[in-house]
Structure formats: C-alpha cells, structure tokens
C-alpha cells in the first residue's frame, strides 16, 4: 500500500464513518488536517508562485494569493547567467549526498547487524551512545568538528563533508536498520550458517536482500539529510567551487539584493530531486514498513 492509498483510506474511514466516529471527532479531524496541510504546503506554494511571478507583481503592494502574470525569467537567470553556477552546486550536492548515503548505508548495515546479533564488551554503551549522539543539536558539534578538520587539514574540501555528513546521518540509519534487523528471525541466519555460509556471506546474501526495502528508506533519509544540510557546509567550505545548493542559495541572497524570484527558483530546483526521488522510491519504503510480516 502506498502512502497515497493510506491517506485515501484515512479519509474514507472518516467520511464514511466506518469506525463510528462522532460528529465532533470528524470536525476535529477536518480542522487538524486543514491546518496541517496549510502549514506544510503553503510555503511550497509561496515558493513556487514567487519563482514564476514577474518582479513587478512581486514588489507591488496589492499582490494577491494568485498572481496575475507568469514568467520564467527567474529560471533563465539561474540557468543562463554566469553569476549563479547552479550546475556546479547541483553536482556538489549530488556527490556529497550520494557518497555520504552509500558510506552511511554500508557502515550501518554492519553496525546494526552487530547491535542485533553480536555480544561484545561495551555493546550496550555503544547502542545507547548512538541514540544520544542523534539527539545532539548539530550546532553543538560544529566547533569540535571544525577543530578536528583543521587538525587533519580537511577544511574547505569535499572530504570534510563526506566525513561530517556521515557522522550526522549514521545514527539515524543505524537506528532504522537496527530496528528492522531485530525483526528478522535468527533461524534464517542459522539456516545459512548450516548451509555453509560465513557470517559476512550471510549478511550479504540473506540479510541485505531481505532488508532491501528498509535499506532504500535508510538511503533516502540519509540522502535527504546530506542534500539539505546547511550548517556544516556553511562553516567547513570556503571556495565557491565546492558550494552545495543550500550554500549557493545563500550567496545568491547576500550577493544580490531583492532577487526573491531567483532565490525561490533555486529553492524549487533544490527541492525537486528529493520529491522525485521520494515518489519513485516510496513504494519500496512502505513495503519496508510492513515487510516484518515476511514468513520465517
């Protein structure tokens, strides 16, 4: 079942009153839904509308919710002029997000497996530590991480982002996979051992294929975090050639004045890949959430 179907089902239950909801609770549901949609979708709406509005209508006093004229000039500026190297930013973001997600996934497969199946001294401490690290705000880590990067001479390199983004996404991917691996019956692994496969081979040939939907979800979360990251990139990078999209958008704001159309167009370009990726991978993710029902 996709997310869309789930939502549709939710609506059907409320509208048809399958679960015998009272009028009051239905009204509550509508209000809550409307508010949620308003607060989550309206910014996207403003972003989109602003990116296609002419400058006159943007800065006029009586601009309505729906603009009177449309234009693609902001996109032309973004892509056409040399002042904003959107392609460089895009590739930087893509490479950082991909490398980070792949490293995070490989490390968290092995790490989550060890959490689930292996007993070793300090194991409990490490498991708890992961959760604690995930709770820490990124801003508290910036200075210590910066000091480390200076020590290793990695400031203003993409490697600094590969490392720090992995540090940032790893707790989440570890946690997702750990939770899932716990639901895999241990007998499946034992069967593979008895069939002659070593532990690493069993991970590769049994655990990974069985967990594929969850691995996709973990990959997506990790990719999203790295793709949208702003704070670390703004501190650790200095050369414009290394900038990722969020930093690029910021320079657009500081280098020029009153270019909201361009900023919003760049924001749309930044958001689209994540939305496309989510829509494409969504079916695997929802499968992953119910894949625990797989028969041992």
């Amino acid at each position: 079942m996709t997310v869309r179907e789930n939502v549709a089902n939710g609506f059907r239950i409320v509208l048809d009153g399958h679960r015998r909801s009272s009028l009051l609770s239905r009204i509550g549901f509508y209000v809550a839904t409307a508010l949620t949609l308003l607060f989550s979708l309206y910014p996207f709406y403003v972003m989109f509308i602003t990116s296609i509005s002419t400058n006159e209508s943007l800065y006029s006093r009586d601009r309505g919710v729906i603009p009177k004229s449309f234009t693609l000039e902001h996109y032309e500026v973004i892509f056409g002029s040399g002042s904003f190297p959107v392609q460089t930013y895009f590739w930087n973001s893509l490479s950082v997000a991909l490398v980070t997600s792949v490293i995070a996934l490989v490390v968290s497969i092995l790490g989550a497996y060890s959490f689930t199946r292996l007993d070793y001294p300090g194991g409990t401490l490490i498991r708890r530590g992961i959760i604690v690290v995930y709770m820490l705000a990124a801003i508290t880590l910036v200075i210590p991480l910066f000091q480390l990067l200076v020590r290793f001479d990695l400031v203003d390199t993409k490697t600094s982002l590969y490392i720090t983004y992995t540090v940032k996404t790893l707790p989440l991917t570890l946690y997702i996979l750990w939770n899932y691996f716990r639901s895999i019956p241990v007998e499946i692994e034992e069967a593979a051992f008895i069939d002659g496969y070593s532990r690493l081979e069993t991970i590769a040939r049994v655990i990974v294929p069985v967990s594929l939907p969850v691995l996709v979800a973990a990959f997506l979360f990790s990719f999203k975090i790295a793709w949208n990251e702003y704070l670390f990139a703004s501190v650790f990078l200095q050369s414009e050639a290394l900038y990722t999209l969020p930093i690029g958008i910021e320079t657009l704001d500081s280098a020029f004045q009153n270019v909201w159309g361009e900023i919003m167009a760049a924001s749309i370009i930044t958001t689209l890949p994540i939305i496309v990726m989510f829509l494409y991978l969504e079916k695997y993710m929802v499968e992953g959430l119910t894949a625990g029902a797989v028969e041992g």
């Binding site: 499946i188 593979a192 008895i194 069985v210």
Partner: protein, 376 residues
C-alpha cells in the same frame, strides 16, 4: 513420499544409504549463566538411524540438537561425527542440515533458489546442481512450485521446501527440530510417515526433536527420552513403552499415561503384588490398556485383543466416567484407595457410569518402581 510411484533411477544423484553417518556425543554439558540446559549427556546414533529426542518443553532436547549442529557452543563434552571431533567446529564445516520448526526459508528466494542455496557451497557443478534441485522437487512433489516464493506457499508446502533444502546436499547428519509442529493434525500424520519413508530410503542419519510422543513412537528407530537436561532412557519405541526405565518415562510416554498406585492399596484390593530381591516396591504401575472389565462368567472381556496371560482376581471398582476418545474409550475407576484409568477399544456392555463393576489386571504387565522411581 510417493515411493511406490517414483523409484529413483539408477543414475539418480540422490544416492541411497552410505556407510558413514554415526554421531557420538559424550558428556555434553551446556550451561547458560546459572541454568544448566544439558547435563553430562551421552548419546550414540548409528549410521542411517532415525533417533528421536523426546521430552517435555525445556528438557534440553533442542539445545542438544543445536549443539550437535554447531549452533551452540558446548560448555563441556565432545561431539564426534564418525571418528572426527567436531566439538569446536563451526556449523558451516560440519556437513549437517537442519529443518527448523519455523522452516526458516529464505523469503527473498524462490523455491528453486532456496533449494540451490546449500549447493553453491559444495563442489557440485551447475548442471548437477540443477538436476538435484529438480530431483528433490519431484521427490517432494514441489516441481510445479519451483518459481514460487515462500510467502505464496501453504504451511505444508513450506515444510516440504525446508525438508528439500536440508536433503539436497545429502548431509552427514540431518537435524529436525519439531518440523511438524506448525502443521494441522491431519497433515502432520501424513507428513510424518512421508518423512520416515524418505529418511529410510535416503539412509541419512537423522536426529529428530519432538515433544509429541505419538510422533516419536511412529517415526523413530530409537527414542531418547529426555528430562531436565538428562537422558532418562534410550530404546526402541517398544522398549520405551513396554519396558520404561523409570517413572518419568512411564508417565511421559503413553496417552493416557501409566497408572501409578501405592502397593498397599493394590494389596488391599486383593491383587498379588510382585516381589523382588530388592524388597517390596515403592510404586506399582499399570498401563490403562491392561485393565479389563469381566464378562458374565468372570473372565476378562478383552474384546478382540490378545489373551490376557495372567489375569488377577476380579476387583470391584466404581466407574466414575466413560469417555469416548476417538477409536477407544477411557474409563475412570476408583475403589480400594485406587484411582485408575482403563482404556478399552470397545464400549463394554454391562459397565455404566456411577455403578460398580468387576475388573481384572494383567499381572504380567505390572511395572514396579523403587523409591528412586527406577524400575525394579
């Protein structure tokens, strides 16, 4: 499994019985923190034999099996396959196969993929592996399901795939951990005789764990009855049933279980109690099927069964309850301080609930136990 219809051809790659396959377990002990799961256990399995580990839950039978398969590190003792010491060997190197209670099929692989998986770790070539998979699928009547995934199979079909995956490699030893407990009653009875035929035909040494004594009796060459981490008795199903080594075996094997009586009550009822050199027994046991009602002439009415060799004098007992259980009747009897269950194949004519009636015991079938619960 379809044995009459499908004899394996001469060129069959699933060869029949091999000479090797013995398992020797000596002094096996497995301890988890403070709990001793298996204690100083000795067990010897002959090549080609099907040995059942039978016992109540928590008796250590599954731990014993898992230790033999290599899935548990043993605390003490040794395990030999033929002459090879495998005690410290990883399961990958032991050449055992296992059928798990939950089947443990690989959910992401088709039936074919599941059956092929163990063969990839052998030196069997691609074409031979394909042949073997097809042969085992045919043997298990799963050939039309080769491209199906486990989630689409019924419980019985999954069980077959699990058996097939275990047999395809022709292991030194086949371990089965309650393989039938997830099937419904009818399928369980059918499958167990199929398993037995298959095992005899392939001649693979098998250790089979179950808590179901009926299953054990019907499938085993020999039964090892376990209790509390120890083996109470090893013997053929007949041995274990007719000549139990102690009170535990006598009470665990048999449904309804053996009646246990105080010798004084038995004597008070006018039944001759067996004496032995070791002195008077502490407990006297008699199986429910060796208590008979008498007919009008005072003779044991044994129905269509064998003659009663040495009937006791008739004893008057009150019939508390007559309970039909499928093909037999269980009759609860009291009197003279005794509390007994008799099992009859036919409903006796002149015995009614609440009335007193005369019954005789087969004196040759009395079992006597000393105060340690061992048979005297």
């Amino acid at each position: 499994m379809a044995e009459q219809r499908r004899k394996p051809s001469e060129s069959s790659s699933l060869s029949e019985s091999s000479a090797s396959g013995a398992v020797h377990v000596d002094g096996l002990t497995k301890q988890y923190d403070d709990v001793v799961a298996v204690s100083d256990l000795d067990l010897h399995v002959e090549p080609g034999e099907l040995l059942v580990l039978l016992g109540p839950s928590g008796c250590g039978k599954t731990t014993t099996l898992r230790s033999i398969a290599g899935l548990e590190h043993v605390t003490d003792g040794t395990i030999h396959f033929d002459d090879e010491d495998v005690t410290r060997q990883a399961p990958q190197r032991r050449d055992v196969a296992m059928v798990f209670q939950s089947y443990a099929l690989y959910p992401h692989k088709t039936v074919r993929g599941n059956l092929q998986f163990p063969l990839r770790k052998t030196d069997i070539s691609g074409t031979e592996a394909t042949e073997r998979v097809e042969e085992i699928a045919e043997l298990l009547e799963m050939e039309t399901h080769l491209d199906t995934r486990p989630a689409q199979l019924s419980g019985g079909q999954r069980q077959r795939v699990a058996v097939g995956r275990a047999l395809v490699r022709q292991p030194h030893l086949l371990c089965m951990d309650e393989p039938l407990s997830n099937l419904d009653a009818k399928l369980r009875v059918e499958t167990r005789s199929e398993l037995r035929q298959l095992q005899q035909r392939l001649g693979i040494t098998t250790i089979y764990v179950t808590h179901d004594q009926e299953e054990a009796m019907s499938i085993a060459d020999r039964i090892a009855v376990m209790n509390d981490g120890r083996i109470e008795q090893v013997g053929t199903p007949e041995d274990v049933y007719e000549r139990p080594a102690n009170e535990f075996v006598a009470s665990f094997v048999g449904d309804p279980p053996m009646n246990f009586c105080d010798p004084d009550d038995v004597q008070a009822a006018g039944i001759e109690t067996p004496q032995s050199a070791a002195g008077s027994p502490d407990t006297i046991g008699i199986r429910p099927e060796y208590i008979y009602p008498t007919d009008s002439r005072g003779e044991p009415a044994a129905g269509d069964r064998v003659e009663v060799d040495r009937p006791s004098d008739p004893v008057v007992l009150t019939v508390e309850l007559i309970e039909p259980v499928g093909r037999a009747y269980e009759i609860q009897l009291t009197g003279h301080g005794l509390d007994l269950v008799a099992r009859l194949r036919t409903r006796p004519d002149d015995v009614t609930e609440g009335d007193s009636s005369e019954f005789v015991f087969d004196l040759d079938r009395l079992t006597t136990f000393n105060d340690a619960g061992e048979v005297v």
